[in-house]
Chain length 362, copies 4
């Protein structure tokens, strides 16, 4: 019941890695919003593997077919549905998953949850492949937000402890993120690629961290309590496989700051209200304060590694050694950058649609 | 629209800090679940200020009045509603909030969002006081989970960078958390209290981090994608004021681990399937794997400090100096420990109710 | 889980007939909407029993206490909560309900559903008393709709087969409904009162039908498929006890009309688009077309009658004769008129809030 | 936002009549439920036009392609998605819809609601064609209910005032409904077909009424207030185009019954609790009482008729005469019979999944 997200819009994602197709439906989108297909495809291409030497050669075709909801380049008000047919698989790579779960994957938990009936091939519905339809929906939302002057951009913060520069929390320089490898500092990017190559050659994998910024959000977006920007972004971002941490603004650093250090004082700048610092990451009480929204996402190293690992046979209830074969990404962080942007775009656009406030006290 | 949480159960929280009452409704709870009122009150007392010398003397009465949903000590199947009447306020402490927002609070964002109509006194609906009804609902869910053999406990991990021991991720020692001050290591606790006292004397505040563990969760709880345990716990925990980070298992450390280090290998132990390590924090693909669930929550230092701060006058659109008067907690982390337990209990119990799987392949 | 209604707003109703209090929370209402308490109380008084000789002498006090959400006569953006304390009960009237269910009431179904733990006194959560908090929420929504030029009014169509005039479907004359007894034709009203009195003297009860109209709804309100005006109004109206039928426009008569008879042709009138007839009841494809919305609600005769009836003992699983004692309404239709208006107001106001369409093709 | 239905399951329907494809996603279905594709196709065929001489020759291919959610004949726990590609259209039949709305259709309301951006061809998202994906979801739910011993069946009650026999409310004879023409009394069926043929030759259309029964529902299914069986069935059934009335049990007849006539007294029959009559239609307080559930649905005559009608030009804001060309059903009631069954099956299966009650008082 929970491959569904949203309050004003309703995003529904379906598909298994080796099923006929994966896709999404997006309901509740107003009519008349323009859609640029080339821009959308370019956004999806940032996610697809097999594009660069630093990701897996297993080539996924992320070219969606829109079944409904669009007419002559505009949303028509009816639910938007898009599918991507699966055509490049090697199911032989995934034998034995039902009985010997791979460490770090959802094989075991899904096997038990679904009573032995889950479609385990390729990770089934839990595969990273399902971030493709998330990117379709998010790519569309990104465009609609940009038309409102709201821009979202992310970059790799760290891979395997090797760091990029951070965004300037007062004015994140989204346009400075590299097109080919999503970092601000190209040299840091080269070090990261070297770490990834090293991991690949060792048959191991590395994790990392992604930083995302949202610029131009007007003041007052977000709902109280469980509908705040942090609640919503965290809820959707944790739907991306491998995410193990989400923090906003100064994040976990707040735990060692004092109030006088952490509070963002208000100032006037060019006739607008701003804050002198931005430890809040643009959010107070779950609601936007007009400063850039910033958050970081920790992604664990991909679980599929070549080294022999210990598993169990569910039928025998006994230990088994397991070696995962096949072609695997040693690091999914670079490909996950657009996925994080997509997730944020969906959450923010949903909150924009939910904003019903019109009265203003004179 | 978003002071509401849950899919199978529906929790709705209402109230403003200086309004007539705060409270909650909890719909969708099965009938026949026993409720121990003394145990619930003891749980609520862990949250209330004015209980100890290390929190604010402003005494809140967290004694709820149940209006519906319970009969002779059992849930009766109808929605459960409870209120706490506000009676100990000093509204004079909060003058001027409408025009000069306090840094770090939601004054500014709520003022703009609600067009000038918000009830700003005491922080209104954004006040930490609203964690009391969350604790009523969570305290009830904690009891019902315990009847199923699922236990939740949390402790202070750090205050102002000063650390307690962490839970043993393989077997969190919930019973070892101090009753008076929620830490595992009493000496660390004394250091923390000293830090808090120092902050109080300086008219400043300190932040911290809370670690929470869930023991006894059966395998298979959690829904795919946006309904996973991380998604749900993060969504509700970010509804607690001052939370700026939530991480699971190894959390942000995964960013510098390799796959071979991070993967939890499977083992057999006493005829049961376990993992040799628990970097996953008990969750794979959003679903429980039978190991303890562990997560950490970063809380920023309370924004109300005595020092003069910079604000703006919304009417004049010009800078103003601001001094927050009144009695304030220099650190809310100790009081937030039961709140985090409550939030986790609600999210987990909701997922338990959502678990409709019955078929098992022979 | 389903004493909750709404998509943009969230209405939650709680309480049992003999519990401490009944009430409601209403989340998602924009701030700055004025509330007229006298007008609200007058609306609630239309529902309360004991006001007139044609209803039960059991006097309910429908005076709500607002706990949150309002400030100085305006909504403040936070959830609105209101309670009505129960103080005039005669629980002795309801002995034996747990074992011998009263025919026509929810005693049996709730007893089984809740495993024997339901609060059966007075009908518990299924009592008609729970229409009082529905009227609080609906009374508020009615006021906010009126501020937008949208008016809702209902009258008794029939009682025990004795008919009032119907509204003019082209221009329902809401203001002509009697204040004391809600009919258009006072003489029909007198006949109806006579039928009710006759039923009372026989210890029996009578049913009836209510017609409701909504005037001034702009074109385009309503969502496709399951979110259309009919879907939403029917969903909430069937939450009123005793409702057994809901029809829109020509309703069940459409079954014997031809297309040429039923289609409402379009015309121009004073520069506006209208239809020449209104068999559609103002709704096409679930969406308002600018004509008055009309619907009728069938209400069964109140099940509590004095005559001996046949029941069973659930413990003995054997037949029992049963006589319901106590003071009961011989007809709830007159009191249900404001309840139907309240339900419609909530559904319509929710749809108004959901209307996010802004783009218009040039 | 509202082509989505369900609380425990989530049904999402997409597609426009002349778009690339129509389809549905169904999330929240447990794994391990068998699916019989032949049975499903036979169910869908009952809906498709062009099967018999009494419906339109425009042939729709209702053969769904399942993209996800099923594996080797069983549900796998992941969302189920199915599409039907559109391939037999004559878009020339629908010129001019954007400017001159057809009376009785949703052309006008959707045109205004969507600011001129709606996909109007063939009725767009409001076309009766969208009942095909509803039947896919409902056909699956019907099978799963049958495996639990719950059977759903419907028949034509009336067409153009010409009546079939009604179901026996104490034991609806589902198996007696004709396979070729869904009536109980074949002679009545012949009269109905004659009425339809007469309407066709006149270029007009006729409406009718459908009666539906649910047998074998255990006691206790349904949620209080807005989640009752009537609320849920009505909400989904009103999502079927042309529905203008839904009534349960004795329906609108209750308005002229007394309590002594309407109350269903309890009896013991073969050791089970039953009622002597079934005016309640198997539902008390929104919850099943173990008796057959019965409801009737009124469907208006199809709006597309050949006769000249009056419309307006939206651009000129002036009257226009309009003649609808093309091939149209003179009566959709026979084809709507499986659609009503499908809708009921989805609503009931959703309530079955929501039933979390386990405790029983000893």
């Amino acid at each position: 019941m929970s491959s569904t997200f949203g309050e004003s819009l309703k995003l529904s994602i379906f598909g298994q890695s080796h099923g006929a197709a994966i896709g999404m439906t997006l309901d509740g989108i107003p009519a008349g919003l323009p859609v640029n297909m080339d821009e959308l495809q370019a956004f999806l291409n940032r996610r697809a593997p097999g594009q660069n030497h630093w990701s897996t050669p297993r080539k996924e075709d992320d070219r969606p077919e829109f079944l409904s909801g669009l007419l002559d380049g505009y949303t028509c008000g009816a639910p938007i549905a898009a599918v991507i047919y699966n055509n490049n698989t090697r199911s032989g790579d995934y034998a034995n998953l039902a009985d010997c779960p791979r460490p770090g994957h959802a094989d075991y938990t899904a096997q038990v949850k679904y009573g032995g009936f889950q479609d385990a091939a390729g990770g089934g519905h839990f595969s990273g492949r399902l971030t493709a339809p998330l990117c379709i929906a998010g790519g569309l939302c990104k465009q609609w937000l940009e038309q409102m002057g709201i821009r979202i951009g992310a970059h790799i913060d760290t891979i395997d402890g090797c760091s990029d520069n951070l965004f300037d929390p007062m004015a994140p320089q989204l346009e400075a993120v590299g097109q080919d490898f999503p970092v601000l500092d190209a040299q840091a990017g080269e070090k990261m690629k070297a770490r990834i190559a090293a991991a690949r050659s060792q048959g191991d994998s590395v994790g990392g961290c992604i930083e995302c910024a949202i610029i131009g959000l007007p003041v007052g977006i977000g709902e109280p309590m469980f509908g705040g920007i942090e609640s919503r972004i965290a809820q959707i971002v944790y739907g991306i496989p491998a995410v193990k941490g989400v923090e906003f603004g100064a994040g976990f650093h707040v735990a060692s700051m004092t109030g006088s250090e952490n509070n963002d004082n208000y100032t006037m700048a060019e006739g607008k209200i701003r804050t002198a610092t931005n430890n809040a990451g643009g959010i107070l009480g779950g609601i936007s304060n007009g400063m850039p929204v910033l958050f970081r996402v920790a992604m664990k190293p991909t679980p599929s590694i070549s080294a022999a690992q210990q598993s169990v046979s569910l039928s025998a209830m006994a230990s088994r050694e397991l070696a995962v074969k096949g072609r695997h990404d040693p690091c999914i962080v670079p490909r996950a950058v657009p996925v994080v942007e997509a997730a944020a775009a969906i959450a923010i656009y949903d909150l924009i649609l939910s904003n019903t406030q019109t009265s203003r006290r004179k």
